[in-house]
């Protein structure tokens, strides 16, 4: 047994702060921690220490703090969230929950759903939440409207309009898509209110999967949402929750489906199941990031390899992995590779993540409109940092327009694989990412202190997402209930 490092963690029983050690045994990484009252707990963190360390070595980001803290440091991390002055990272995405209600009863969910509409925050409260984001997050501001299921609110179009009036730069909607698929008028209203992207729950490409989690056949619903977004020019990110005994066997087909709907579908954002809320206690479906990446490699016949995934521009090397790939003749041409080493950062992690959310994950039509509002961000440190679509469609200041750079001789029989490559990078690329949320077993304070995804509470505080949804193994929330 070889110790990697000591970490600050939590007792899964009582949520008290305890120390743990990360260690290696038989090539696997484990976290072991001990509570004076509740004893010892050991969790598997990664099945392959080499991959684990490679991800750390490839991770290199600068950081910027939030514009201003909202709470004082009293008890120490993680008990002062709001954000407190010791938090190391500005917000990249602020999650604004506008209802706890939901029209699904999913087997796995981190949200705490009820059907009591009277508990929904009113418009004034939501305005305060938006204004808090505007005040604390460095520009530009990115929010995700979430829940519960936000489309249960009839006033969602007004909420989105209000967000835009407050000056929020990018608004995306986290939804199961059921209402959008069936209610064209409602969709038209949220689209014209200024919605930038849809973050669509999408667990598989067969009804079996949806029946298992929700008791309903939903694949046609998901396809209809994408059809509607295509017409409206709104980008879609498919968001599969992944569990071993659920849909891990079809992650490759999910990616293939996404590739077939590019450019409306801009990305697939896998979320391996974590154990909070109403999740099962037995953890039999647990999937690590590496498990998922290995399945993706297997199911895409080696076209997208584990090594094509690099650490996401997230708080921590182990919070996520991302691959950017072009789509070529129904195959993949991945652009990212961990062997290329750490990217040299020119701006901090929140700015980069926002750029990624705004540039890659919104609709193509929206990209064009967004030039005036987002242009400053997108070109912040260099003209070459524009989104792929911009770089090559418009011809940035780095390069002449595409029409100028195509081969001189017309009628040449030579293939120009690089001209095709540029053409593909305009419209046929896909971002595939996986995010590893923390549960009470895998909890590391270091990851929380650097977290950039923050839930905005109704009383106007920011809680790092994993803290907000953290429960003890008995279902006791650390923040969620206390915050409301």
């Amino acid at each position: 047994m070889e110790t990697l490092k000591t970490v600050k963690s939590l007792c899964p029983e009582c949520l008290e702060k305890i120390e743990g050690i990360k260690y290696v045994e038989d090539g696997k990484v484990y976290l072991k921690k001990e509570c004076n009252i509740h004893g010892s707990f050991t969790t598997l963190i990664s099945r392959d220490v080499e991959h684990y360390i490679q991800m750390e070595e490839c991770f290199d980001v600068d950081r910027a703090k939030a514009r201003e803290p909202l709470t004082d440091t009293v008890h120490g991390c993680p008990f002062d969230c709001g954000l407190c002055p010791s938090h190391k990272q500005d917000t990249c995405l602020a999650v604004v929950e506008i209802t706890d209600r939901c029209n699904m009863k999913c087997t796995y969910c981190f949200a705490n759903s009820s059907m009591d509409a009277s508990l929904d925050p009113d418009m004034d409260t939501i305005r305060t939440m938006f204004e808090t984001v505007k005040k604390c997050q460095n520009e530009p501001t990115c929010i995700q409207i979430s829940g519960g299921e936000p489309t249960l609110r009839d006033d969602l179009p007004e909420i989105i309009s209000m967000g835009k009036q407050v000056g929020i730069t990018h608004i995306e909607l986290n939804t199961n898509g059921v209402r959008i698929a069936g209610d064209q008028d409602y969709f038209d209203r949220i689209a014209s209110a200024g919605l930038d992207a849809i973050y669509l729950g999408f667990d598989g490409v067969s009804d079996d999967v949806y029946l298992q989690r929700t008791g309903r056949k939903l694949f046609d619903v998901k396809k209809e949402v994408i059809n509607k977004c295509e017409k409206a020019g709104i980008g879609v990110v498919l968001v599969p929750l992944v569990a071993g005994n659920y849909n891990l066997h079809e992650v490759g087909r999910i990616i293939d489906f996404a590739a077939s709907r590019v450019p409306t579908v801009r990305g697939v954002h896998f979320q391996p199941v974590f154990y909070s809320g109403r999740s099962p206690d037995d953890m039999e479906g647990k999937v690590t990031i590496l498990d998922l990446l290995e399945e993706i490699e297997k199911q895409t016949s080696g076209q997208l390899k584990v090594t094509n995934f690099t650490p996401s521009l997230m708080p921590h090397a182990h919070c996520g992995a991302t691959c950017l790939t072009l789509i070529e003749n129904d195959g993949y041409l991945p652009l990212t590779n961990i062997s290329l080493g750490a990217a040299k950062s020119a701006s901090d992690v929140a700015s980069k993540t926002k750029k990624s959310i705004m540039g890659r994950w919104k609709g193509l039509e929206k990209d064009k409109e967004a030039k005036s509002s987002c242009g400053d961000l997108l070109v912040k440190s260099s003209c070459c940092e524009k989104p792929l679509s911009d770089l090559t469609v418009k011809g940035s200041c780095c390069e002449k327009p595409l029409t100028d750079v195509l081969p001189e001789k017309s009628g040449s029989k030579l293939a120009n694989g690089w001209a095709d490559f540029i053409e593909m990078s305009k419209n046929t690329y896909l971002t595939i990412s996986a995010m590893a949320f923390q549960d009470v077993w895998s909890y590391e304070q270091d990851r929380i202190e650097n977290c950039c995804i923050h839930v905005v509470t109704q009383d106007g505080r920011f809680i790092p997402f994993c803290n907000y949804n953290m429960t003890s193994c008995n279902g006791q929330f650390m923040y969620r209930t206390a915050a409301e």
Binding site: L391, D404, V405
Partner: protein
């Protein structure tokens, strides 16, 4: 005065080889010094490893550095163009110089042998991605050049690949 002598004077007093202001700015943007271009041309002139246009008016010399390939296009009196790519040319696509099923003769002659240079695909690699692109190839099968137009395509593709890591 020969082209070499003229180019030796680049940047010095009495320079009579013309470089347009536009080209000078372009070289400055790319971080290429006149002396480096001069060195590339000197070597090409002394070794004969260069392309010559079929009308004899222009030459292309090539210099390979660790992460950059620099081409200089020049006439007897003027430096006409300097262009670059970061990609590495790996070799002929398909490995060998087989007969082409099209007229593959380019507008260039390989100065050393006097044979026409051929338009053939060469494999080029950058940041883990290898794809073919049009090259100008000497019949010895080992000297590879690209045209200014193709170099622009390559530079754009390089930017796309670099952007993914930004």
């Amino acid at each position: 005065m020969s082209i070499i002598d003229k180019l030796k004077n680049l940047g010095g007093k009495g320079m009579d080889v013309k470089i347009s202001a536009e080209l000078e700015n372009l070289m400055k943007d790319k971080g290429i010094k006149k002396e480096e271009v001069q060195e590339i041309i000197n070597k090409a002139e002394s070794s004969g490893n260069k392309l010559k246009s079929t009308d004899g008016e222009l030459c292309i010399a090539k210099g390979e550095f660790e992460n950059l390939t620099v081409y200089a296009m020049y006439s007897a009196s003027e430096l006409k163009d300097v262009y670059t790519h970061k990609m590495k040319i790996l070799g002929l696509t398909g490995g060998e110089l087989a007969d082409a099923d099209y007229d593959d003769e380019s507008d260039w002659v390989c100065a050393k042998t006097g044979e026409p240079a051929l338009e053939r695909n060469v494999d080029m690699n950058y940041m883990g991605v290898t794809r073919p692109g049009p090259g100008i190839v000497c019949p010895n099968g080992s000297d590879f050049y690209v045209s200014p137009g193709v170099a622009k395509t390559l530079t754009t593709a390089e930017s796309v690949l670099e952007e993914k890591r930004a």
